[in-house]
Amino acid sequence: MLEVQRLSVNYGPFRALHDVDLTVQEGEIVVLLGANGAGKSTLFRTLSGLQRPSAGTATWRGVPLTGGRPEFNVARGVALCPEGRLLFPDLSVEKNLRLGAFVHRRDAAGTERELGRVYDLFPDLVGKRHAPAGSLSGGQQQMVAIARSLMARPQLLLLDEPSLGLAPLVVEQVFAAISRVNASGVSVLLAEQNAFAALGIAHRGYVLEGGRVSLQGSQEALLGDDRVRSAYLGV
């Protein structure tokens, strides 16, 4: 289980996260709602090890994630699919995916198996596997980004706004894939502005506002909450 306790992150004098408490149980999809600048990406960068917190703890299955070393976190089963994707644009799709399995570089057979699995999940990528990742459409690049993080064979997948800038049909495809990944036993923490699609597949959710958790609850509770409905569902 992911356990975040009283986590605070400062950028200089600016406090981006303030005493955040959050959990993800094994097998859950938990959605993180919030406007731009609410602290979603900061939380994800911290959980992945890119950013060190100024206070508080974050552990996955009891192992601390706050050492500031992403290679440690991904080797412990926590993979981030970041906002902006951070692909290797001039490398082929397949090379991007193989690099995603870098922590399993001594297990070639396992990497081949996983490669087959992610192509099965995103069949659109099969025909593009020799194309430079940067030449793909936004939706396909997002698929490469998710697939690359899956190549690390995570137990906890952190997805930062995977639907950003994608056409509705592609969003549907991406969310269906996330559901399938979760069904295979991977726990998921999903940041979204597209609250409706996200709550559709999530078990529970949190709302971040100004770096604090302002609301949390089950899927039904959040879908029925007036503040969520007006702020994030537009109804």
Partner: protein, 286 residues
């Protein structure tokens, strides 16, 4: 016609040497995003190490070249640890100034040990090869073949091995590389080591043709920076094309116009390219 072929072989040999030095510089820039002004110093040390090993140990030329390459590679990795790593979070200008300091330090140490005067390295295979009237010295042929071999080896390493892919990955997205679990410090050290080895090989190859002197690093620095700016900072094909462009401009310009103009022509080409394509020939404009 014969003269043309001789100039061609001169240009190819010079271009091969420029390419090896420029490739290391562009790889390091791609990975660290810092121009390593000490790079010419590594090249100069490569020449002196070759000279010292040849005279001190009396080993064959190729062995001396390899020993120099390994020694400079280790030194370059150490340079990354001692100078660039501690400055990784400082403004870039700090690392640049430190690198210039390292260049002067290398020069001073070399001058203290070997003196300021020119040193000569004997050609391993003296004489010339004459094919139907076209004359090429064995050393130039060796330079051309060895530099092509080194470039093919580097290309194989970057494109076909996972470790090579980590270098390309890191130069394209540093954070993306960290997120997939690549240890960026290790890749940084490795890239420095490769750049040092390439510079030393280039220096050992050209040393029997030119003279070895402490100032050779500064001169080379100027040229390879021009080359990677020409080709696009961080671009591997750009470094190779830029290297041969500059070598051809220098050799043929020097021959057909005036030898004194050789350097001027090279830099005039640089100014021209920058006026038309400021990002360099092989870098996508952003």
């Amino acid at each position: 016609m014969t003269i043309l072929f001789q100039q061609l072989s001169n240009a190819l040999a010079l271009g091969g040497v420029y390419a090896l030095v420029a490739l290391g510089l562009t790889l390091v820039y791609g990975v660290m995003r810092v121009p390593n002004f000490a790079h010419g110093g590594l090249y100069m040390l490569g020449a002196y190490f070759t000279y010292a090993v040849l005279n001190g140990l009396g080993v064959p030329y190729v062995v001396a070249l390899l020993i120099a390459a390994v020694a400079v590679a280790l030194l370059a990795a150490l340079l990354e640890r001692l100078v660039f790593y501690p400055l990784r979070n400082a403004p870039h200008v700090h690392a640049m100034i430190a690198a210039i300091g390292v260049l002067f330090f290398f020069e001073a140490v070399v001058q203290r040990i070997w003196g300021a005067d020119f040193k000569q390295i004997a050609e391993p295979i003296p004489g010339i090869l004459n094919v139907g009237g076209v004359v090429i010295t064995w050393q130039r042929l060796l330079v051309i073949l060895a530099s092509v071999l080194a470039m093919l080896g580097l290309n194989f390493f970057l494109k076909r091995t996972l470790t090579g892919a980590t270098i390309e990955a890191m130069s394209q997205s540093r954070e993306g590389a960290r997120l997939v679990g690549i240890d960026v410090n290790r890749v940084g050290m490795l890239t420095f080591a490769i750049s040092g080895a390439l510079a030393a090989v280039a220096a050992a190859l050209i040393a029997p043709i030119v003279s070895v002197a402490p100032s050779m690093g500064e001169v080379m620095n100027l040229k390879v920076f021009a080359i990677i700016i020409l080709g696009g900072m961080g671009s591997v094909p750009g470094a190779i094309v830029g290297a041969f462009l500059l070598a051809f401009a220098e050799v043929f310009g020097g021959f057909y116009i005036n030898l004194d103009f050789a350097d001027v022509i090279g830099f005039a080409a640089l100014v021209l390219v920058l006026a038309i394509r400021p990002q360099g020939l092989f870098r996508r404009g952003t």
